[in-house]
């Protein structure tokens, strides 16, 4: 490299040193304050947890191939432990931290042109809290496990003989603090570390989503902490809070639990929506359509998320008045969700769409989220929910939202930022094949469960009537197809680390700041604070054969050309 490509900002030139090579050794990772390394540590931990949770999912599906016992040794009790662990691991260890803590940690400060998050030490502390929380939760396995379902409903959870309930509750309690600290850190980062020129309405939409998520994390998670503490107290010291035999009220627990756990659904889905906003606009090389509506709909979803928890309790004996109000408010979530979907679709209009792996994941998200959202109508409607509540219809619905949307969004984001994080390109064709395999497997698994549920099969059943078997067999086959897709993904991503093509600074043609620093980013991200323009303005983006990536044309770049800057303001 003798000539410096003047068409790029200086930071994209690969410096001899990046965040991976800056320091070496175990201690340099264990005590790092670098948001990128903490993000990578989260990512590795979350993916390991995803593997473990996935194994339990496959065990559950395999056991359900036939009525009664299928896998030798898996009795009803063992099965109950399996689905509980699958739920608890996927919710608390995978989906909640996956996007904000893993991808958010890595990308957010770079998107802001900052050197780190606002509180790097708190960030590392959050990670260790996550690790200890995870160890506590998993250690409950050695202490007798827990078979309460991830919801820990009383009085079952306070009376079950399973010995691991208290360690598991303690683990989730600690995980809650990890989540709170991450949220707090991100709120301050977004408020205080935005670069000059990046007003609220010039932030990348991913940051809006992360910000809205952080608000929910900080406001809702303490309620979960208190609830779990009360549950521990009740189980350990027989102090009656929720157990009616000691003067408590089990429905109170459900209110407390869902006051957190409904917003938690939006902690999972909002960041994924943020990722989709990025994926669609970058891979369609087209300015996002209706920026303000998308940004504000994230905030609207965050606000509504606190007002709809009672829709989990339509058949619990909650008063009809409350049920009516909760049903009505739940429907209001349809509005911001519809706005997002239609605005994303309009972003494709007159775009320059490239169907590579992240874009395929974004399109999968659109289809799966549409199904997940539309089937929410059946469940928010009072009289149909009476039939569908606690059946496989609900299982299918929330897997479409939590897995088909939140996790698919996360995996799409992982592919999108993989070249930035690792400096390597993965095999694009294998990526496309894996994405399509996962998409097909997912729909075979979970669409079948809509029929299963509306035909009356309750959830959390070890044994079932023979009339439901055909659906279970189809669903289980789907889960194996999905597992193949994920194993392929794991293969080509790991392979890319060793033999992948060296990634250019801007492989997709993005305009937000993370594409203006090298891949992988240097330790301090940017040597000088970069200038910020419209992060969705793709007019200056050009493919460069020599670079095998995209570059910006300085003549058309509003951050370089002041005349354009005033023209493009809107």
């Amino acid at each position: 490299m003798t000539t410096i490509n003047l068409s790029q900002p200086l930071d994209t030139a690969t410096r001899p040193d990046n965040y991976l090579t800056h320091t070496r050794g175990f201690m340099s990772w264990a005590f790092t304050l670098d948001h990128k390394r903490i993000g990578v540590m989260y990512m590795v931990s979350v993916l390991i947890s995803f593997f473990v949770g996935g194994v339990f999912a496959l065990l559950v599906r395999t056991e359900l191939l036939t009525p009664g016992q299928t896998i030798p040794g898996v009795t009803a009790d063992v099965y109950n432990h399996f689905f509980t662990l699958h739920g608890a691991i996927m919710v608390f260890l995978v989906i909640i931290p996956s996007i904000p803590a893993a991808l958010g940690n890595f990308i957010m400060p770079i998107m802001l042109g900052a050197k780190d998050v606002a509180f790097p030490r708190l960030n590392l502390f959050s990670y260790y809290l996550w690790l200890f929380g995870a160890l506590f939760t998993v250690s409950s396995l050695l202490l007798g496990g827990f078979d309460t379902g991830w919801t820990f409903y009383t009085p079952y959870s306070t009376t079950t003989p399973a010995g691991g309930v208290i360690p598991a509750l303690t683990g989730v309690f600690i995980l809650g603090f990890s989540s709170i600290f991450t949220g707090l850190n991100f709120i301050v980062t977004v408020h205080k570390l935005r670069p000059p020129g990046m007003t609220w309405f010039r932030m990348p939409l991913f940051l809006w989503a992360i910000y809205a998520t952080a608000i929910i994390q900080v406001l809702a998670t303490p309620v979960l902490g208190i609830t779990l503490l009360l549950l521990i107290v009740e189980r350990a010291f027989n102090i009656g809070i929720f157990d009616p035999s000691m003067g408590g009220d089990p429905v109170l627990y459900q209110h407390f639990f869902w006051f957190y756990s409904h917003p938690a659904v939006y902690i999972m889905i909002l960041p994924a929506m943020g990722i989709i906003s990025e994926l669609i606009t970058v891979h369609a090389h087209r300015h996002i359509f209706g920026y303000k509506f998308i940004a504000l709909s994230s905030i609207a979803i965050a606000i509504f998320s606190f007002l709809v928890w009672g829709h989990h309790m339509f058949t619990s004996g909650q008063s009809p008045l409350l049920n009516t109000l909760f049903s009505l408010i739940s429907f209001s979530v349809a509005i911001p969700s519809a706005v997002k979907v239609f605005n994303w679709m309009s972003t494709l209009y007159k775009g320059n769409i490239v169907l590579n792996t992240p874009m395929l994941y974004a399109l999968s998200f659109l289809v799966l989220f549409t199904i997940g959202g539309l089937t929410g109508i059946h469940l928010a409607t009072l009289n149909t929910d009476v039939h569908l509540h606690d059946t496989y219809f609900v299982v299918a619905h929330f897997h479409y939202v939590m897995m088909g949307s939140a996790l698919i969004g996360m995996i799409g984001g992982l592919h999108h930022w993989w070249p930035k994080m690792t400096g390597r390109m993965y095999n694009e064709n294998l990526g496309r094949i894996a994405c399509i395999t996962v998409f097909i497997g997912f729909n075979v698994t979970f669409f079948t469960q809509f029929f299963l549920g509306s035909q009356g099969m309750p959830r959390r059943y070890y044994d079932y009537l023979p009339e439901y078997q055909i659906y279970h067999v189809i669903s289980t086959i789907g889960s194996y197809i999905m597992a193949c897709g994920f194993l392929l993904t794991a293969y080509y991503l790991l392979a890319s680390l060793f033999g992948g093509r060296i990634a250019p600074a801007n492989p997709w043609g993005g305009r937000s700041l993370e594409w203006q620093c090298a891949s992988p980013p240097p330790f301090d991200n940017f040597a000088t604070q970069p200038r910020v323009g419209d992060c969705y303005d793709f007019t200056a983006i050009r493919w460069d054969e020599k670079e095998q990536g995209y570059v910006t044309d300085p003549a058309l770049d509003s951050t370089k050309n002041p005349q354009l800057a005033t023209k493009n303001l809107h």
Binding site: A76, H287, P458
Partner: protein
């Protein structure tokens, strides 16, 4: 749609019940009619939006793919207020409509008519007990057709939920509270079938086996059944009690107590009588042995006393190695019922491991009723 329905109903081989559609099980209560109509309309809305969105996505992706020979397009609109407002407001109107109709029928579901026939329901790990106004009890639910039936439900341990898919009704049973569920069915259940009744709130080991049947009978048949049901135990002579009533009553115990020696939620009943009757000794949770508790001058004067106490007050002496998981059967089993259980235990060798009476293998010749 019809082809799909046929395929799926063929897939459901072995199900004798008519009226199953692609999405929903047979419709057999007054509440199911409106619930299904609502479900159908929501499906129409879902199909419309889903198919529309997928078609639009395909067209957009095909039409606006990046092409090497085409210059970069930058002419797409950045926003369009009227359009965005439209797709924010139109879904709002649709869901308000759906909300209203769902709400209207839900109020109906929440308000049992005053003239309802009331049946008391008790759920416990892992069984149901249905108690009728004349004192009769049953494990399966029998209801009269043509009049509203109200279930007045309670749980004696953890949360359960009573779910009858064919009636489209469901309500949680919360310990410490009573909850109501009502429905009216006008169709007599055909011979050889029954509506499923499930527990749909997770309650532990036996959760998935807490399913029973619901039988709807015409009023005269129901009345006859009710009278017979209230007297079945009284009509059995004392000497036939253990083999005629024992296995029937055992059906409610078999979730936890095996007859073949397998350890369940509770101890197996195999050899139980000899164990408490001075045979192989065992321990209670508090460390005391059977023999120190059972016998003349001890807490339980006779083994019969111990069995009786274990049924009515099961937490008093729990056998070592088991949790205090059994609910009390006080008020559910009368003295004659307890006698039947004790007799059943004493004559365990006359039954197979499923509780079937072996000596009745050759039935006595039937006397013509003419």
């Amino acid at each position: 749609m019809n082809i799909a329905t046929t395929i799926f109903s063929n897939l459901l081989a072995g199900d004798p019940r008519e009226g199953r559609t692609l999405w929903l099980p047979p419709q057999d209560s007054n509440l199911a009619v409106n619930s299904d109509l609502m479900f159908w309309w929501i499906n129409v809305v879902c199909y419309f939006f889903f198919i529309g969105i997928v078609i639009a996505l395909v067209i957009l992706v095909v039409k606006y793919r990046m092409k090497k020979d085409r210059p970069f397009r930058t002419d797409g609109p950045l926003h369009h207020l009227p359009l965005e407002t439209t797709w924010a407001v139109v879904p709002l109107f649709i869901v308000i409509f759906i909300f209203y109709f769902g709400f209207r029928d839900y109020l109906n579901f929440m308000t049992p008519p005053k003239n309802s026939y009331e049946i008391a329901v008790t759920a416990q790990k892992w069984g149901w007990l249905f108690k009728y106004p004349n004192g009769a009890t049953s494990d399966d639910l029998y209801v009269p057709t043509g009049r509203p039936v109200k279930l007045s439900m309670r749980s004696s341990d953890v949360l359960h939920s009573c779910y009858i898919p064919d009636f489209r009704v469901k309500k949680d049973l919360v310990p410490g509270r009573y909850s109501y569920l009502w429905f009216q069915t006008d169709n007599v259940t055909p011979e050889g079938s029954g509506h499923n009744l499930f527990c749909s709130e997770y309650c532990g080991t036996g959760h998935s086996n807490m399913n029973r049947k619901v039988y709807a009978l015409a009023q005269p048949e129901f009345d006859a059944w009710l009278t017979a049901q209230s007297q079945w135990l009284d009509k059995i002579p004392e000497e036939e009690l253990y083999f005629r009533a024992g296995p029937k009553l055992y059906a409610r115990c078999m979730q936890c107590h095996s007859l073949d020696g397998t350890k369940g939620i509770g101890p197996s009943w195999k050899n139980l009588w000899s164990r408490v009757n001075g045979g192989e000794d065992g321990k209670f949770v508090d460390g005391t042995s059977y023999q120190s508790q059972i016998g003349a001058g001890k807490q339980y004067q006779t083994p019969e006393d111990y069995i009786r106490a274990s049924i009515l007050n099961p937490g008093e002496h729990v056998v070592a190695g088991y949790a205090n998981a059994m609910p009390s059967f006080k008020g559910q089993l009368n003295d004659k019922g307890i006698d039947a259980i004790i007799g059943f235990l004493k004559h365990m060798d006359e039954f197979d491991t499923k509780g079937k009476y072996l000596k009745e293998a050759a039935p006595s010749p039937k006397v013509s009723m003419k």
